[in-house]
Symmetry: C2
Subunit: 723 residues, 2 copies
């Protein structure tokens, strides 16, 4: 790619971003958009929308930037929880890393690269200069001996030192951040109120005997072996069917309630046929009420016949946090596949469409998911390879000869090479996170947070493989999975492939990165759907405050980190674009966390280890590429001297795993006992224990009360009138 193509791309994206930002500034002030841009505040009934019209409402204003900037970490912690704070720490960490990397890259590496003689050297035609002149490809080879002293000194040693310095900086920052977040996690635990999941574990694989019920077996076991700490238990039931019935009933009830509101008298009858346009008119109120009654009858029958649907799994609660930790950490039964214990999720985030109590089944599901994951990863290469074709116009001309004329136009060819590839890739990638969520839930995780964490990991490795490696390896025509069966050749192959893709990835940051930020801000999909529902649909859709999609956002941000770290010394030109991405992202995500997303769960910062590991992986990948590059550039000495770097990085990671990771898995005795003791004097505990007994009761088994939704339903649309 030449410089002007990059600039075109940057121009298009800057324009788009500004357009989006302006649109956002205006749209967010319209009262009808409050459920799109501030659903969270609606949920809390704090919306600031006003019904009366001002001219101000049509003018863009940057006030939201200031507000997002001014919020302190403590405020974010109190409103959005530790996970949101940890998420924002990724931006702060990345900014620190790439500011230091940028200083080295722009002031030391870029001049060295540009002054190299490997590629054509011509100042006159800057716009048509290939981006490769700014990359390491342009630096002279090591064996090139010329008489001048400055030229005799191989400039690759500058890159060599930069790799060492940068690795040192990143490791220091990683350590600092890990220690900062783990201390936050501990203090968060100390300051948290007693919560049911702290006192509870999930037990699977309860050995059922024919004589007694699961409930009795659980009670006997825990009364026998944990008699001083055991508190209560709730056996799990298979309630999918009841849940379906309840959902249907609730939906129906909402419609009914809506119809009964006087504001929409015209809606009281409707034609029965296709889309409500044909068929005979019926009284909707009557129709729905009958349907609801029928459903409720069904429900009662199902609920009463539930005794036989016990699953050999239970939530077991203890009198203290330490009691739960004891049952969790020590193997319970003699057979390790029975009485398998696990941390309980918060009651509201229990989610197990694929829950299975049997050890063997879970294991098999796990295997199935691994196989499916690998298959998907391989199949996904097909779109990636096609996208790759777009950056190589010649290839495209061979495939589609009729496009030849069109592709000769500069603008079109620039759009195609600079913009289209990453947009298509992005489209395909958007299907990946939901699939990974599905995979993780099949694996048998029992809470949303665990599923998201596992999906986050899956999406990350998927992205690395399918975006980074697939592009790098296919770009060099050396694309074979075989490469990874011959580990010896990996550095060389990467060194041949990675620098060549610099321009693609710079464009990727600009298009995919910047665009994703502005579309995140504008929330195009919810906006359109809210507009549609206002325009066409006569019945208000379910309104729910969205939760933050950590599993798709974290890997995306981490992937830009990977690009920054690996290309830091190959093509430092990528760094300014990344810095813009992180700066803008910092503001936008803060804004979204405050206004849009409400936390559905709280993992207490458990996403950080994923961030840490991905950074370590990026560093080691960078080192491997460096080994290959110095080898290719005929500087074998530097190539060997780089080898200690991945070794030390690996050891550093091992140390961090030992020093910090345990804190992210479970809380230590010290914390548990301190909290338990603090609770002893708390008069609220009696009430808490009362709640604890029923905390994990399946909502499907509670008596159905169809009243909840009306209040919530009113708020979004009737807000203007009320406030």
């Amino acid at each position: 790619m030449i410089l002007s193509a990059l600039l075109t791309s940057v121009g298009i994206n800057l324009g788009l971003c500004f357009l989006f930002f302006t649109l956002y500034s205006i749209l967010r002030k319209q009262p009808s958009n409050v459920i799109v841009y501030a659903p969270r505040l609606v949920g809390k009934s704090k919306s600031q929308g006003r019904g009366d019209f001002h001219l101000e409402r049509l003018l863009p204003s940057p006030g939201w930037v200031k507000r997002a900037w001014e919020v302190s970490e403590e405020e974010l912690l109190s409103t959005s929880g530790l996970d949101a704070v940890v998420f924002m720490r990724i931006f702060i960490f990345s900014l620190k890393v790439f500011i230091s990397g940028g200083i080295i890259g722009i002031f030391f590496l870029l001049p060295v690269n540009f002054m190299g003689n490997q590629l054509s050297y011509d100042f006159s035609d800057l716009p048509n200069k290939s981006l490769d002149s700014f990359s390491i490809s342009n630096v002279d080879e090591g064996s090139n001996r010329s008489p001048s002293i400055w030229k005799r000194f191989c400039r690759l040693w500058v890159h060599f030192s930069a790799a060492y310095v940068f690795t040192g900086v990143v490791c220091y920052l990683l350590y600092y951040e890990y220690s900062y977040i783990s201390s936050k996690r501990v203090s968060y635990f100390y300051s948290s109120k007693p919560q049911p999941h702290q006192f509870t574990i999930v037990v699977r694989g309860i050995p059922v005997s024919s004589g007694s019920s699961t409930s009795e077996i659980v009670e006997n076991f825990f009364k026998e072996y944990h008699h001083s700490t055991y508190f209560s238990h709730t056996v799990v039931h298979r309630t999918n069917k009841i849940q379906d019935l309840i959902n249907e009933a609730e939906k129906l009830y909402k419609r009914l309630a809506f119809l009964k509101l006087e504001k929409f008298p015209r809606q009281k009858c409707k034609r029965e046929g296709f889309l409500g346009f044909f068929g005979c008119k019926v009284d909707l109120l009557d129709h729905y009420e009958k349907k609801l009654e029928h459903l409720q009858d069904n429900l009662r029958v199902e609920q009463s016949s539930l005794a036989g649907k016990e699953i050999p799994a239970a939530f077991v609660s203890f009198k203290s946090r330490l009691g739960a930790a004891i049952a969790l950490n020590i193997q319970q039964g003699v057979n390790p596949t029975e009485w398998v214990t696990e941390i309980a999720p918060e009651p509201q985030e229990v989610y197990w469409p694929f829950f299975s109590a049997s050890f063997m089944k879970r294991w098999i599901y796990n295997l199935v998911v691994v196989v499916a994951y690998i298959a998907l990863t391989i199949l996904f290469l097909i779109p990636v390879v096609i996208v790759q074709g777009l950056t190589h116009l010649e290839q495209l001309e061979i495939w589609f000869p009729f496009l030849k004329g069109l592709l000769k136009l500069t603008f079109i060819s620039q759009v195609i090479t600079g913009y289209l590839p990453s947009l298509i890739l992005q489209l395909f990638l958007s299907f990946v996170p939901p699939v990974m969520i599905l995979f993780s839930s099949i694996q048998g995780y029992i809470s949303l947070s665990q599923i998201e964490k596992s999906a986050c990991n899956k999406v990350w490795w998927f992205t690395v493989w399918n975006i980074f490696f697939a592009n790098v390896l296919s770009g060099t025509a050396l694309y074979q999975v075989n490469v990874f069966l011959e580990p010896k050749n990996i550095p060389q192959v990467l060194a041949q492939g990675v620098p060549g893709q610099a321009s693609f990835f710079i464009a990727y940051v600009v298009t995919s990165g910047w665009t994703s930020l502005s579309s995140e801000l504008l929330r195009l999909m919810p906006l359109v759907s809210s507009f549609c529902s206002w325009l066409f649909s006569n019945i208000v859709e379910d309104f729910e405050v969205p939760s933050f999609p950590y599993h798709s956002e974290i890997p995306r941000i981490l992937f830009f980190g990977l690009l920054g770290i690996t290309y830091f010394f190959l093509a430092p030109l990528i760094l300014p674009f990344l810095l813009v991405y992180y700066c803008v992202g910092y503001i936008i995500y803060r804004n979204q966390l405050l206004n849009v997303y409400a936390p559905k769960f709280e993992t207490g910062g458990r996403f950080w280890p994923i961030v840490h590991n991905s950074m370590i992986f990026s560093l080691i990948l960078m080192h491997i590429i460096a080994i290959g590059i110095f080898g290719l550039k005929k500087l074998p000495l530097a190539s060997s001297f780089i080898i200690p770097l991945p070794v030390f990085t690996f050891l550093f990671n091992e140390y961090c795993r030992k020093r910090f990771l345990p804190i992210f898995q479970e809380y230590p005795t010290e914390c548990l006992v301190k909290r338990d003791r603090a609770d002893q004097n708390d008069p609220m505990m009696a009430e808490f224990y009362n709640k604890l007994v029923t905390a994990y009761k399946d909502p499907a088994l509670m008596p159905v009360q169809l009243s909840w939704s009306t209040d919530r339903l009113k708020s979004p649309l009737l807000h203007d009138a009320e406030v």
Copy 2:
């Protein structure tokens, strides 16, 4: 190697074995050898030696074989502990495996191999026939299409089916054995008496503050966080110096006691100079007594100045087994590198020449050991390569041309190719186990059993690498470590190398295996040293009942298992020799466990997972070789159909890890609580708790009582007179 060379080797070894067995039958009946052949019975004062002379004493008799055979597993368990039972189960398991393997191999594979046409086919000259005619090398290739139906059916499919059947049998036996031993382990725990190590943990990395002593800090911490279960603690001191002084004093005291016995009046004075032959005569009694007094003074000074030598580590005892398990399994402090807990060893097996309380130091020591281990493994290749030269006589003739005439002699060449290589290898290998013990103790394990277990693993991998792979790869002239950097080529390289070494490994079983058994029985080294001490030395050496060297014996036996499994379908001729090895070994090791070795520790069968893993590794290695062989033999279909086999074996192993391994790591709550509850009604517990307080006191810090050794000292030599 030709058949006659193998037969020579078998002949020599059979002769040696019979000689050794006969010698053993005679020597064991001599009363003076009782400390060599039945030290254990001496230790227990049950020796059956009699002073008066019988002719019977000079005649070999097989009575010991019968006695060793008749002992039941329960008796072995009660006299030698579960570890000895598990050790003998290796033989039973191996016999089961190789009897079924032998049936398949001898009756199905061997005829197929022998009827192949790849190598010369000549019944007339059987003695000069190469052993390769009995191996898979002789089987026709897959693409060889001939008109007859029998010949058109490729005989390699027999090998293919054999691999599947054999893997199934081995996996079944592995599962059965794992489950048998884990149930033994649990019932052993139930039947064991209360022991200090069940109630105790080791805590390292105690955060020391300047204000208070380590002891106070430990007490405060555990009283605070384990107030209901904490019992007592013992802080660790640095006592190497005191221990040295005590050892010296004890040695001196023993000599003194010995001198004072009236039986040896001639020994009361001795010359001072070199070896006691020169210099002026001194009264030994006087000399030793003065020295001892001086030592004791030193000792008292050292013991009193100990306060400053506290190490931030302690043994912490709890009131119940569950209490100890809780402190063991849950992270204690907020910082995971502090308050690091670990299972306590039995008091008598605490051994830590390289003990370190600091987390970082241990970690660095571990790294150092890994590096040293790799270095040793590589350096060891040098002797292996030289030994390899001996099996290829032509190579030897090139290296040492002057040997040409000598090597022409049939007998000498047969001895050299059949016997010498494995003997030399054996000699070098005998240095390995002590070095591995040293490595493991540097790693910071704190008990003999942990050190032996870790050393056992190290020796096993060392043996596999340096005996199996080094021989296989150097034999095919394809010897490069590089092979393992190109995983794709591994099956092919192994398939080329492994069958060629069949004759070497058959000879290895006969020489190294059989000889090791008979030398184990004869105990040549202790015999010689006891004879020497009786002949030359005037002062009785320390007498100690030896403990069983699991770390050197288990890998040896497992390595023969590896040979059997990998060569099972390549050269089934190896199986009869292996069966002889295991049958004889079964008798001999039972005899030795009953008479010679006394258990120094009891791991409760923790060595079994090592056996299991090594068998799984052997199976997978066999599969990889099969993939390569079928590829080489132009039967790619079989080669692909073998691939599921290692995958299933791997999954089977994963299942076993989940199903059985946890039981071998720690006891489950169920067991702990049951035992604790049983103890509550035991009147002996008060006494036990009294002992528990001082159980882990460093013996170096106790008041020195130099009386212990005299009783022990008397027993071996004065036994005849007493009994």
